[in-house]
Subunit: 233 residues, 2 copies
């Protein structure tokens, strides 16, 4: 029985890592399509979404069966219910990559507004946050999970910087407004990916330390106040 | 034992309904602050957020204890794990209301861009979706849950309508760009509230019908293609 449980646990971790790696690939392709202006890469994103969706249903099913069959004790039960939440976060990260691709397909029908520097940087950080959050889960590594939390602020700073820059373009040339808004929305999609990675890291700390750190601001260094309402949504 | 479980289940439902009703109040106050230009209402939103956060931690804790203590059978186990996911959705809905309030505080420092018609209509629909999704959960009412799913398209249509209108303002008068973007972002916050309500309704159908309808497009009537990338994010 014990061995069966360990095997099931191992397979559960593998499935989540597969989902995470698919989600990373989706983010990578979505941003590459945008930066290199290659619309065909969007197709890869849509194809991977189908795989992530199928895995999401499988993972939920596995978790329910593991609880029903093995009636795990406190720490294992926390691990499995955290896996169900992380599963939902991964599916929503994949959705964000799909949103980026859809917006990109429209953006690529118009001339480039500006060379994109901050967008790929934001995406790199968010992708690494996701990878580290998942690794911290399967390794039960609390320190790695904590390192994810503090990186959320870097994503926010880049988002604000990009916003200020795009606003300048839009105000001086109204023909850039639609493209500017598209890029702002893409930066919000990346921000949400980072938020989901943060959620995962918080779940990990709950599982490993048995301590619920959600909604405790002392876990994150305070960030400077935002410059405008649009930076907070 | 059985009776204890029923009592625990009853209390769990009550907690989720309390959270849902707090979240509805938060959406209501956030939108009222915006439409009536009453910044002080934002404080109500922030105060309620603290209550929702405390309830979120309590609900997760209750669910874990119920599973560990009662080792519920398949259908009850699905109900409790669904409650944990719904709990997470409710907390994120509250976050969206907070985001709306923060943006509103900045918006109210500037003159009104236009009388707001579509924003409160969107919010009304999203609020009703949330209420019905939660009611369908505690009543295990599959039909009510299904009625939530189809309303997502109404929110999307209003969002697109608002977007087109705001774009007209921004292009003809660049001094309105920042306010226009703020309102677009608020409409996205409302859209996400409707998305979370949809997630809850999908969980309910899974619990009640034992059928996972996520990612099955036949559950929703098809919607017309969007007009621009910015409508899809």
């Amino acid at each position: 029985m014990e061995r069966h449980f360990d095997q099931d646990l191992q397979q559960l971790k593998e499935r989540l890592l597969t989902m995470g790696s698919l989600a990373e690939t989706m983010i990578h392709s979505a941003i590459k399509a945008l930066v290199d202006r290659k619309a065909e890469l969007a197709q890869d994103v849509y194809r991977h979404e189908t795989e992530v969706n199928a895995l999401q249903i499988e993972v939920d099913d596995r978790c329910l069966k593991m609880i029903a069959l093995h009636q795990p004790a406190a720490s294992d039960l926390r691990f499995i219910t955290a896996a169900m939440k992380i599963n939902a976060d991964l599916e929503r990260i994949a959705d964000q990559a799909v949103n980026i691709s859809q917006t990109t397909e429209y953006l690529l029908q118009e001339p480039q507004l500006k060379p994109l520097i901050d967008v790929p940087r934001m995406a790199e950080i968010a992708k690494k946050m996701l990878k580290d959050a998942l690794d911290s889960f399967v390794e039960r590594d609390e320190n790695l999970a904590r390192s994810v939390l503090v990186r959320d602020d870097q994503v926010d700073e880049l988002k604000e910087q990009l916003f200020r820059e795009l606003l300048t373009y839009m105000i001086s040339d109204p023909s850039t407004i639609k493209r500017g808004i598209d890029l702002i929305l893409i930066s919000r999609n990346i921000e949400r990916i980072a938020d989901h990675a943060t959620n995962i890291a918080e779940d990990v700390i709950f599982v490993v330390a048995g301590k619920d750190i959600r909604h405790h601001s002392e876990e994150k260094p305070s960030s400077p106040p935002p410059l405008s309402g649009v930076h907070k949504s």
